[in-house]
């Protein structure tokens, strides 16, 4: 067990170092940093001085090490486009994305699990079939089209909800929240639904297929034979055993929600980190791109590691399997 965790932590660190290398290469090889910082009128002495000052005359591994240690301390350099420290820009924008992602995750998980169980129990019912067909369209429908559709319905035609921005936010010093104002909450509805819909269909289909698989097994038949009530069979006996794959996917989807927030934020002009990243790609703002790349990698790798470790606590069978496989 401990050996496995250590191995996984080690792997995660290697992945993060590789991502750091990619981010660093972007800095080092896309354009010339000296060109970016010095104007037209420069002398050879200026260039040499700046080169020493920036440490560009040092060997590659040393530069890489410096870059990493700066990044770990939250120093990602200065945005080419906005001329401000990247860490400051990201800190300003993070609350918007995190609030949106949290609300979407709650929506996706609660509706996804409930609908999944429902469609599995009533697998031949009309409503369940309707939901399943709708979910197929949902999977084919790109996120941005869902967003545009919602904007058209609720903002353009009905005029109930705002179509862009975050509404009024309350500044709590280091965090700005939209939860505390009416306009902030209203502005949150459409983006949150847009972002949640795809993950919801995914969770629903997964819960449904896992439930169908479990319901076919002998112990369910025995439970029926023992005369247990349906509700107890479905929720106490069946749902519990579908949870291992569901937790995996939900865990991984939490990361995906942050990534897909890029799309939702662009459609709704939501001032979060995703919109920042898209603008950075459009204008080739390397420091912002690199910082986003590293932050999101830390998040994804961390989530993955956590999910893998969680396995052990949820499913005792896996402990045996893994140990056996390791030998």
């Amino acid at each position: 067990m401990l050996a496995y965790i250590i191995q996984r932590v080690f792997q995660s660190i290697v992945v993060l170092l590789l991502v750091g290398l990619v981010a660093f290469s972007m800095f080092r090889f896309v354009g010339d940093p000296i060109d970016n910082m010095l104007g037209q009128e420069r002398t050879g002495a200026d260039i040499a001085r700046l080169r020493t000052q920036l440490g560009l005359d040092q060997p590659f591994p040393v530069q890489y090490y410096k870059f990493l240690s700066n990044a770990v301390q939250g120093n990602f350099g200065v945005s080419y486009r906005q001329g401000r420290p990247v860490s400051q820009i990201i800190a300003e924008r993070a609350p918007a994305t995190l609030e949106l992602a949290a609300v979407s995750a709650v929506l996706a998980i609660s509706f996804g699990v409930v609908l999944g169980v429902f469609t599995a129990i009533r697998r031949n019912g009309v409503a369940a079939n309707l939901i399943m067909s709708a979910s197929l369209i949902g999977v084919s429908l790109p996120t941005f089209l869902i967003g545009i559709l919602l904007i058209y319905l609720f903002a353009v035609e009905l005029g109930w909800l705002p179509s862009f921005g975050r509404g009024d936010v309350v500044d709590l010093g280091w965090w700005s929240t939209g939860f505390l104002t009416a306009s902030g909450l209203k502005a949150l509805i459409l983006p949150a639904i847009t972002l949640a819909l795809f993950q919801m269909t995914l969770i629903m289909r997964l819960v449904r297929s896992e439930m169908l698989e479990v319901l076919r097994q002998d112990y369910i038949r025995f439970a029926r034979a023992r005369g247990l009530r349906d509700r107890s069979i479905y929720f106490r006996h069946a749902l519990k055993n579908t949870m291992v794959p569901v937790i995996t996917v939900v865990g991984l989807q939490l990361g995906a929600i942050i990534a897909f927030a890029i799309i939702t934020e662009t459609v709704f002009q939501w001032p979060g980190v995703g919109l920042l990243f898209i603008n950075a790609i459009q204008f080739v703002d390397i420091p912002v791109m690199a910082a986003y790349l590293m932050l999101i990698s830390v998040m994804f790798v961390g989530i993955n590691l956590l999910v893998d470790i969680l396995y052990y606590f949820i499913d005792p069978r896996l402990r045996v399997d893994r140990t056996a496989a390791a030998k």
């Binding site: 896309v30 790109p142 662009t266 990243f277 999101i296």
Partner: protein, 319 residues
């Protein structure tokens, strides 16, 4: 597929041709029996044909400024324009471009990027999967580790990052021109993992079978065994993944272009058209957005349905 002997006496009750055998196969039977598959196949064929034949089918060439008339701008669908009296089936955009024609040309770019990206992912994934499965050892570890790592990240994010990085490396004036190719590279690289994993799994199964042992025994080279003997036997699942990947690649391309990090306005794909159309949503010119969006939806949905059907049809367990 094995080749049939060609020289057969004409009057003999000859072996059926490949086409006849295809019409008689289980595969075609299950296709005929599935209305969903027939309809989606027809829709995909129609869309692909109209994209390929766009220069012949389209009433206007949206990229030829000489045929544009600004006075035609914002014509509603099926209504004669107030100034010129010309009628456009699906209306025109702000520049007076015929929306129907821009969709046809946009479809062309969307499908080209989609097919090319899947082909690229397929070649890369199948090659790496075969190598990993057949050679094993550290080659396998390296390839499958890389696959695991990439799988940690959503493919759309990987595609965005690759697009951003490659764009950064290109000189400024080449960026728009190369955008389509960068897009193919980015989407292809973000999508190879599925192929590699499936092919590796299937290769591991095939490797232990007698025919591979026999081929080894008669001294065929590893390359020949992989390509001539194992590859044909793992192509079924590859085909299924390719179809599903195509739907995903089309959506990925549309998403990237919609976000403004894909096909440039000079070569608009369906996603770019939707991006442009979104700007007119509030001013009432709904058709500039609606028709490209519907085209994309029909395309993605029918390719998806076709992929679903194909997966069931090729899965022996479900027969």
């Amino acid at each position: 597929m094995s080749e049939l002997p060609v020289e057969k006496p004409a009057e003999a009750p000859s072996a059926p041709s490949a086409w006849a055998r295809f019409l008689d196969s289980d595969f075609f039977y299950s296709f005929k029996r599935s209305p969903v598959a027939v309809v989606s196949f027809a829709l995909v064929t129609l869309l692909v044909l109209s994209a390929v034949l766009a220069p012949l089918v389209a009433p206007h060439n949206p990229f030829d400024p000489a045929t544009l008339n600004l006075m035609n701008g914002f014509s509603a669908p099926m209504e004669p324009n107030a100034f010129t009296g010309e009628t456009f089936w699906l209306g025109t955009d702000d520049q007076g471009r015929d929306v129907f024609s821009t969709i046809l040309f946009g479809l062309r770019i969307s499908l080209f990027v989609g097919f090319a990206a899947v082909l690229f992912a397929l070649l890369l994934g199948v090659t790496l999967g075969l190598l990993a499965g057949y050679i094993g050892g550290w080659t396998e570890t390296l390839i499958m580790r890389a696959a695991d790592v990439q799988l940690t990240f959503p493919s759309i994010l990987v595609a965005m990052l690759i697009f951003g990085i490659v764009k950064g490396f290109l000189p400024v004036d080449a960026r728009d021109e190369a955008a389509i190719w960068v897009l193919i590279l980015a989407i292809g690289l973000s999508d190879w993992v599925q192929f590699a994993r499936v092919v590796r799994g299937a290769t591991l199964v095939e490797k232990s079978k007698d025919y591979v042992q026999a081929a080894k025994l008669i001294g065929r080279s590893p390359g020949a065994i992989m390509l001539r003997h194992i590859l044909p036997n793992v192509l079924g699942p590859v085909l299924v993944i390719a179809t599903i990947s195509l739907a995903l690649a089309i959506i990925a391309e549309a998403t990237l272009s919609f976000l403004g990090v894909g096909a440039p306005p000079t070569q608009p794909s369906l996603g770019t058209l939707i991006r442009i159309g979104q700007g007119f949503l509030f001013s009432g010119e709904w058709w500039i957005l609606f028709f490209p969006a519907m085209t994309l939806l029909v395309l993605a949905l029918s390719v998806n349905l076709l992929g679903d059907w194909l997966r069931d049809a090729l899965n022996p367990r479900l027969r």
